[in-house]
Assembly symmetry: C2
Homo-oligomer: 435 residues x 2
């Protein structure tokens, strides 16, 4: 999709723009940051995903004539603001964590710098993308850790908004899944797609044998036959009878998967089909996957729990103004700012950098967040990459880069990171040099 | 958005198509139904939303040349199947519950009839839409019941995938919300949009007073001022000082909302601003809304919990083949079919109709689901509408129709339906005439 992202925006971004244009504050140089105050309950690390999609959204944040006409017609903003929006394109800078990177409370995930006017407009769409994609990536990462080396297939499209499903497939791929059922995710992002048949295909034919014959004739013996429409044992027998021991795989989509996997494995082996793999796909989540570790399962298909973030369908990332110029003068110094009201919503002012501190064994021991210049003696790994410079997208990378980054950064975490039990963030966030 | 929906589809729909084209079964007349086996834990009714979006998706389910080239390049299906897809458009019939209608386990929400080939392809995108939109509508309905007559504003865009957010605003509007912050939802669906300013606007200016002056000058005294950036009491005082007692509203976005609403109401009244309304917007869900019933609150803004379905971010709707012809002959009789394996996934075969039975006082007492012809003596309200006939979309209606239908059908339910406590489905589903 390459269409305008400009109206994927809360109305108040535009009304703030209008008021700031009028007050003259709109041109004050400003720094907004994306961060989260906490991880979801019990989670030990977060996983950033959606960075590439954010870059697309920034690039496509242009108002079309039809959109401007609608804004005028609805009197969302005044004429002067419409004129300003007509020429809008982001001309500032964005730095941030790389796609797939793990994160912790307070990690400055994205730092957006520009005039207030141009930076405030991006709030909603940036948060939409990062909050959803990172929720999926966090769940996917737990599942891929639980699966050990066994392949994972994302197949949750039917349980998510149809476009969210595509983003979910992408985020899952970043966090360790190997394939998706979603064709659009293949088309748009080059993610490997997979899939063979549903129960409807068996029910359509007069007999299960007819269905298996039709499928094998069409897709070859390497296909995956779904064996739980009627009687599982009969189906496995028929499957090997039809396809021979070269059958690629059988899929089990219901019942006690541990028990059935053992039974089907034995049956397949007895039939000489010891290379035929077993794929299981019934309401799996990271706990069910972990519980199947000792069962003879060759691949997992995961749907609902993946695309809903396994109980945490969004993150709590926010986009906050942390510093702004004293005046509209382009050389005016930046002043740190922060909400100060009572309650849990206070935040730390000032533009931030971040680094991950590793111990002598290369195990992460702290997330270091600082303001001001990075100390010259700092030996920790800095976490920000340049994403946008003077309005130009400079941070694009192939999805495989995010995939690799995720595996590396997760591997650096203390072992307890991938325990499924509830716990605190696996490393602390330490703040340096706050004034 | 008017672009192709054809790849928002699981790969196995296309591979089943290929195998069925080859076996000859593809042309068998088939009936698929969308239903759910259960409501989410503790919920007493479901709310169908997304019907209008399904009709758009059916209409836009055409493969573009670029999509076909990609399918060929990836060898997803063979040449004969690609040729078939090139001319695809759905030419069958769809009947179903109206948008906004309440539903129960087993309700046949959508009945899709056509050749196996043309009907199977629609599975994924139909389920994506209905499962997401109905999850949001169910949450929105609980919130709107809890809010009594007070207005509700949807403002969760930043916590959902950017396109899902638009669908969420639409579903919330069907189920009783009055407005949304999401501009695209206004642009695409005509939903009223609202919004004024965030904390960033106050922080941008040198003082809170400067910010309030700028906002009131730009948006008039009827605007809503956000009063919890620094000190709430000071901010309310400044707000009335700047805008006068004609100030439209103040918004509180953090803290103990019951306590603060009372305090702010008293302060506003003391300042002579007894018409100035109070809007609250901090992490609300249906329980928090209900708890604020006795507080002097005039409107609720709801974000995260709405767009994530308040703990139930998806429904468990499935799309199942329930009947298909004995042969490819267009006059061949339909045979009911159903998965029969062990476990909870068995289903009832046969094409279904549905009706709601009301008692003498007009209170719903049962969901009646039957196969075969509708009994002539049936006096219960039939629930299916024609949506697509011979491939032509005939069921479009304005969003206001779904909004009205939801209010009416919810009002018919027993009073316990809108209790927030956990419980069973508020009326039973009764099956008639299953052979």
């Amino acid at each position: 999709m390459n269409e305008s992202s400009a109206l994927l925006t809360d109305r108040y971004e535009l009304t703030m723009l209008q008021a700031a244009l009028r007050s003259g504050a709109a041109t004050r140089r400003s720094v907004f940051e994306v961060f989260t105050r906490r991880l979801p309950d019990g989670r030990r690390y977060g996983v950033l995903a959606g960075v590439g999609r954010v870059l697309d959204a920034v690039e496509n944040f242009r108002f079309t004539t039809a959109q401007l006409d609608w804004l005028a017609d609805q009197k969302v903003v005044d004429e002067a603001t419409l004129e300003w929006l007509r020429d809008y394109r982001f001309s500032g800078d964005v730095r941030g964590y790389g796609e797939g990177e793990v994160y912790f409370p307070g990690s400055p995930l994205l730092v957006v710098e520009g005039s207030f006017a141009e930076a405030v407009l991006l709030e909603t769409v940036i948060l939409s993308i990062l909050n959803y994609d990172s929720a999926i990536a966090a769940a996917a990462s737990r599942m891929s850790a639980a699966a050990g080396g066994r392949p994972l297939i994302e197949m949750g499209a039917r349980r998510a908004h149809e476009r969210a499903a595509v983003a979910a497939a992408r985020a899952a791929y970043v966090a360790g899944f190997g394939a998706t059922s979603d064709l659009e995710a293949g088309f748009a992002y080059g993610i490997p797609t997979t899939g063979t048949a549903a129960h409807a295909f068996t029910l359509l034919h007069d007999t299960e044998r007819d269905a298996f014959v039709a499928q094998v004739e069409s897709m070859g013996r390497g296909t995956t036959l779904l064996v739980d429409t009627y009687d599982l044992g009969e189906a496995v027998k028929t499957a090997i009878d039809v396809a021979g021991p070269e059958l690629g795989a059988v899929r089990i989509d219901s019942g006690d998967l541990t028990l059935l996997a053992h039974r089907v494995r034995r049956q397949l082996d007895d039939l000489g089909a010891d290379k035929t793999r077993i794929v299981v796909t019934s309401d799996l989540d990271e706990y069910a996957i972990a519980a199947l570790a000792a069962a003879p399962v060759d691949a997992y298909g995961v749907g609902t729990s993946l695309v809903t973030g396994s109980g945490q369908p969004t993150c709590s990332m926010v986009y906050k103004l942390v510093a702004r110029a004293e005046s509209a003068d382009p050389d005016a110094p930046l002043v740190p700012v922060a909400k100060r009201s009572a309650g849990a919503k206070a935040s730390r002012g000032g533009r931030k950098w971040a680094a991950r501190r590793l111990d002598a064994e290369g195990v992460a021991e702290a997330e270091i967040v600082g303001t001001g210049p990075v100390p010259g003696e700092l030996t920790d790994r800095l976490l920000h990459r340049d994403l946008v410079r003077g309005g130009e997208i400079v941070g694009r990378e192939p999805l495989s880069a995010g995939r690799g980054r995720h595996l590396r950064s997760r591997a650096e975490l203390p072992i307890s990171a991938t325990q499924l039990s509830r716990g605190e963030a696996v490393i602390p966030t330490e703040y340096l040099a706050f004034g």
